[in-house]
Symmetry: D2
Subunit: 481 residues, 4 copies
Amino acid sequence: MSYEVKSLNEECGIFGIWGHPDAARVTYFGLHSLQHRGQEGAGIVANEDGTLRRHRGHGLLAEVFQDETYMEMLAGSSAIGHVRYSTSSKNTLNNIQPFLFEFHDGQVALAHNGNLTNAKSLRRMLEEDGTIFHSTSDTEILMHLIRKSTKETFIEKLKEALNVVKGAFAYLLMNETQMVAALDPNGFRPLTIGQMTNGAYVVASETCALEVSGAKFICDVKPGEIVIIDDNGYRIERYTDDVQYAICSMEYVYFARPDSNIAGINVHSARKKTGSNLAKEAPVEADMVIGVPNSSLSAASGYAETSGIPYEMGLVKNQYVARTFIQPTQELREQGVRMKLSAVRGVVEGKKVIMVDDSIVRGTTSKRIVQLLKEAGAKEVHVRIASPPLKYPSFYGIDIQTRNELIAANHTVEEIREWIGADSLYYLSEQGLIDGIGLDFDAPYSGLCMAHFNGDYPTKLYDYEESYLKSLEETTFFLDE
Amino acid sequence: MSYEVKSLNEECGIFGIWGHPDAARVTYFGLHSLQHRGQEGAGIVANEDGTLRRHRGHGLLAEVFQDETYMEMLAGSSAIGHVRYSTSSKNTLNNIQPFLFEFHDGQVALAHNGNLTNAKSLRRMLEEDGTIFHSTSDTEILMHLIRKSTKETFIEKLKEALNVVKGAFAYLLMNETQMVAALDPNGFRPLTIGQMTNGAYVVASETCALEVSGAKFICDVKPGEIVIIDDNGYRIERYTDDVQYAICSMEYVYFARPDSNIAGINVHSARKKTGSNLAKEAPVEADMVIGVPNSSLSAASGYAETSGIPYEMGLVKNQYVARTFIQPTQELREQGVRMKLSAVRGVVEGKKVIMVDDSIVRGTTSKRIVQLLKEAGAKEVHVRIASPPLKYPSFYGIDIQTRNELIAANHTVEEIREWIGADSLYYLSEQGLIDGIGLDFDAPYSGLCMAHFNGDYPTKLYDYEESYLKSLEETTFFLDE
Amino acid sequence: MSYEVKSLNEECGIFGIWGHPDAARVTYFGLHSLQHRGQEGAGIVANEDGTLRRHRGHGLLAEVFQDETYMEMLAGSSAIGHVRYSTSSKNTLNNIQPFLFEFHDGQVALAHNGNLTNAKSLRRMLEEDGTIFHSTSDTEILMHLIRKSTKETFIEKLKEALNVVKGAFAYLLMNETQMVAALDPNGFRPLTIGQMTNGAYVVASETCALEVSGAKFICDVKPGEIVIIDDNGYRIERYTDDVQYAICSMEYVYFARPDSNIAGINVHSARKKTGSNLAKEAPVEADMVIGVPNSSLSAASGYAETSGIPYEMGLVKNQYVARTFIQPTQELREQGVRMKLSAVRGVVEGKKVIMVDDSIVRGTTSKRIVQLLKEAGAKEVHVRIASPPLKYPSFYGIDIQTRNELIAANHTVEEIREWIGADSLYYLSEQGLIDGIGLDFDAPYSGLCMAHFNGDYPTKLYDYEESYLKSLEETTFFLDE
Amino acid sequence: MSYEVKSLNEECGIFGIWGHPDAARVTYFGLHSLQHRGQEGAGIVANEDGTLRRHRGHGLLAEVFQDETYMEMLAGSSAIGHVRYSTSSKNTLNNIQPFLFEFHDGQVALAHNGNLTNAKSLRRMLEEDGTIFHSTSDTEILMHLIRKSTKETFIEKLKEALNVVKGAFAYLLMNETQMVAALDPNGFRPLTIGQMTNGAYVVASETCALEVSGAKFICDVKPGEIVIIDDNGYRIERYTDDVQYAICSMEYVYFARPDSNIAGINVHSARKKTGSNLAKEAPVEADMVIGVPNSSLSAASGYAETSGIPYEMGLVKNQYVARTFIQPTQELREQGVRMKLSAVRGVVEGKKVIMVDDSIVRGTTSKRIVQLLKEAGAKEVHVRIASPPLKYPSFYGIDIQTRNELIAANHTVEEIREWIGADSLYYLSEQGLIDGIGLDFDAPYSGLCMAHFNGDYPTKLYDYEESYLKSLEETTFFLDE
């Protein structure tokens, strides 16, 4: 199954609730609204009077919980859940979260969104001490650190462990009596707290999950914070003061749902404003503006509004999931693409079209869409990208691990334009993106991580340092493919 | 599983191809683009050198053909396929099409989009003659009529049978040596012919399926025509001259994909124009125009463009399929709704909103969406419907069989406005819809069937006459539900 | 899946019950005890206050009804069921019985054990009259004949139809108000009637199903009879007087369960007596007698008892179902065989063994078992077959359609002995079998059908006449395979 | 699913092979012949050039490996496998063996047959040291002990660990370069070594698996031994000299397959001899001897042979798996029993019957069978049990954990006879069993563990000591249930 046109994937989405009679069902709703953050696996752990039970499986949430009996089994008044896209570890059942650890003195469930940069070192160190890992996931490391800690309480052990792991992490833990959320010192990934009318507390990767579960937004979890929720309410503590905002800019550009707010900024509005900035930076005469569905529609409407050029539906995305068969011929492969996205001949035929997209990764998708539009009769296709060129790999939870996957890391804008067959191509400037999003933290880039665009990583890269330096030397992405 | 917010369902989509080495795979692609016309069952019959084989099953196409072996089994150079929403018959496997009939002297496959108005009478008549039906579907009737015909050739038998069945039908048949498409005398449902670059002929319910399969549009099948396709090419014949265009207006308003053309009119453009007409007929001061995704986005952008009010994304539809669990409480049911559609607080909060929708059936969905918008902080919600009030049942293939399901059949616009909680409500006029679509056939309503809106049915109702008259007397739709 | 060592298969088993609150569950129990008569498909139709509902599927009964909800759906106080092995028709769902026919004036369910000899002619005749068949099964023919009959009542129509079909048949029908069993004029297949303590009537292919369902034996259905059961009790009628017993001898030899009685003769006892006769006809000096599990254990113990030679467990059958993978090498294929049947080295090593089997079809199994025993150290293996050589095809419901499948049709006993590697081989005489079974009807062979052994078919062969005569001329079974 | 009439279950079966191109397939064959030792889960780990891969699942082997692709995935020239019945731990996927551990410096697979008596203490001790267990199975403990060992080599670490665990264990381990089998100091469970003609070495729980895989028996693994197999052949080492034979007598009585040899004694022959001893100890006048299928057939034939009374098939076991539905009524429950086992009316009616069974656990099954026989018309039923009364729980891998499950622990033979409704009842004496089996090790009871019968446990009970002593005081098994 392939659910997405773009080969750019977020690692995970997490959701938790404390104090609701149907905790697992609400978690199901919440995870469903976070499904765009991970489609390869899903799981829920529910807590009934101190007994934790789990169901998890491969695939979409709706597939994993197709059988209602699983939901009935997950009784209890608190629960945490996880949807997963796998980047750094194998796709076996053992790697699907939440993890559930059983001890003679209790149970702990753990879910994680992000990617550790010192996982390999920590794993080796722990194994040399006799530790046995049961998954290949980075996530398990935190639990071993907690159990090996000599501190007194669970919270103290956790804080100690959080100071050992490095990189991007939004953790959600649950034991018999409490639920704990923790965010890394840079706040790479969003994590937010809300409350339902019945008093139940909700933790979620995005605010859209609060809305869906009927919870009111309380606050975002901030870099270096842990939020402890139990039957007495919630309290916020810090495990470190060495923090600095570096919110992943790709959350605004592509990953997050348009109805979510991150750090108080609505994602749709941010995208619309980048589209507007793009119209100012790179105007072009045309008959219509179209967006690549679904992630670029906001930017496209911003471009249209600012440019005064009509906004049209020139591309239609099939809302139904398609099974991608192994296609024996090139012709069938082409048709397979058209199953997912169609150009609207009745709209674009004979017209000059501005096609707005949020980003370009390998360029193959852009090339195909330009081709679809031209086959449908578009006279000119002007491509406008609502973010700067993607040039550097991610080590914080997006599945780009090498520059060889990034066309812009190896080719000029003009080379890319020619290859994708556009009549013109323009990328938004870094400042255009920063202004469009409109954060104003007292931190570089107003609090955004711009490393994908300019290589300015806000943290040490630890285990990835070597592979990163090596990637800088290589240029193996060829446009003839 | 529930895949749609609106409780308005088309009966079917059909697709066929003759002369392609991967006929079944192309049929899969074509059906996938017609999935919006039926999500309860799917099937494909392939013809390999005169041997017809079938696979069919319940659910979405991707579920039915999840196992690639089915596709491999369906070898051959021609195929017909069907996606199904069931209205008039039970949802058993036996009712999933295409039907495949086996005789000592050959095989015939049959698929059908539409609804017969004299099916009950014909069935009884045939049974009294000793005929055994093996499905509860109307579709099977045609085959019995063909087999009982005393005419010489298959085509002559078919023509005779087509003059016996009444109502709305787009048939697709395939035997060892030919594929035949036939349309009823009013052309209620769209049916179109195309050709691929390799010469293969394609028949499809909508032109979007031509695009997806890489075929070029040749022509629409016209009322009273049959199109016979074999290894020598295609030819068009007529089985009756008593024809008059009455294309179902709801195809333009709601059912068809925006990238399809029906009778030469692009559906997106038609919708945009109805939105524009709506803006002229019912202007209102507001901060933004939003559409109910996905079917109303075109009309909303037309309203925005004509009114000069910004078009915003105030509602977000979750692109992932949700499983609707049996929800034990009202609160959970509410959350279940929010899983599918969310209001964007960051966009609508504190704003006056014009919400454009294509139609209102029961009104429950409109009521919920208005509520979602108000809960998300919208100051005012002005509802604009891009079609006239739905007041009369359908007997031509849409699952509205009684006026009791239609809020507008029993209540005034003001009553509806109050019930759905809108600040104002306006429906497009009949003429506004007819002009917006822009057909110009020499027939009532320029060639549209407007019966849903005004009860002016273009044919006799036969077996439905009595139930229709009874429905006119009843008023049982209460707004307090 | 392959469940049996021997490639000799019965067509079907049927079971019905009238007047029990859990009719479908009792039918499940009954069918389970008849599972040996058919493992490729199963189905049950239940009758709740005149409404008939069905579930059916491919595979073993336990697989088809794995989901308890099917059983719950099949509410009602009467039911009929069927287990199926397919011989003459394709293995599609449409061919799995009971068939359930729906008419505007009612429903009829139909199940069948046997094989018609004039099915092809009847089918053609009916099709030429405009009839459409929906399965490729012979069984459907009866229903078309019933519906086309101009007689008044259902029973009269049925009687007329029963006089048209020829060959071997045990039918079970159910409509809203009655259940009807009918047996062909020769009584090829067993069919029996019983009653439960609550008064419910039971119809079953074998008496073992009466025992399992807790019913007391009333009587066997006799050739030419129909038994009509309704809320008033049961009555027996005749549809023809032209009858003559010819019970399939292979029912006693191989098919039926040892705990069943057929025509008053216990199957285990009959087999033991044939084993005893075999010991008298073909004694041999040896250390032990062993039977091929499971069907030959009775005959083996009879041989042992009469000969005075100890009965030992020299072969063990694995009671668990094995999946037969496509084995890439000959060595693995050999191991695949050993999975199902093992020779007991600790028992046979160094010993002279008499191996009793009930019959030999192709000989490949016998060859393998002799080889297993020799590999396990048996010094001599003397094969004794408790029935005469199988030389003629069956047209009454066993899947041997040509003599080419029968080693004894083409080779002498000595050739067979050499090929299977036995030290001696002896088949029971025809009279030894007839005496062993011990029927005493006033009919040829005391009422047995001996056609498999001597070609003396008790009826005309109709549509099979030609293929039978052709088979007599051919000799294509070669021992080198 | 319930596959067995008797509620007495073995824990596991293990199989391994080193040096065969189709290692996983041969393992499948081997495990299939050990399926009687565990039906709740199965798994195989294959080793392809140092890379270990696994598939495992719930249910029977044929279900777990239904999809051939799993077998294809398990490429490689060595493999170990496991079939499982769970006693001491939860039935989750995580507990299904073989376990596969992944380290930065390699992989280890582990399978286990037996039960540790100090598992709970070891687990607690390890957890207090920071260890995280990922299953609730005892088996995992060994791996943690190995990884925490400070010895140099894998074999030395393993030997150290084997001296820490107590109780009954037959372990099978595999890493990249070797396969290792280890047996506890008492040899409670059988474990055997063989060699195929191509040189591949095989390890299996029973010799029947050697036969099935085409391997020749080399030797049994002896108490305190480890057998190390690699590309250079095999070598036997000892991890302790403190050994004493105590082979579980129930392996001979009930668990093992009749075609297996344990310590050189064929199981069928041992059973036949116990039957013979039983005939001498407890003769009775009767018309026939019948055995309870399948485990008691050998003992029954021994009784028949020695007594001179004919051996008959008075009970028939249905060879097909039955699904046990939740039966709403007592009547249906009774029928459910008859689905599995039937009395043969045609054989036992009016007869005096000696019914031989291998053992009695709760007595409910015996009671039901006596009742079945009497209902089928048996005049007298004399029950003879081919082992002494079961009075004490097992801590070595059989799922009897308390005396309350054992009727003979709480009631006299006469009370039991009356309750099960037999005309007489006799158990074999301890000496009769020991002589019948015929071991002659220089150890108590000739090398058998007779603890089930007399409470003489050959080891300390560690964590079970307390529960055992408590069980001695209780008597809660009431015959009225």
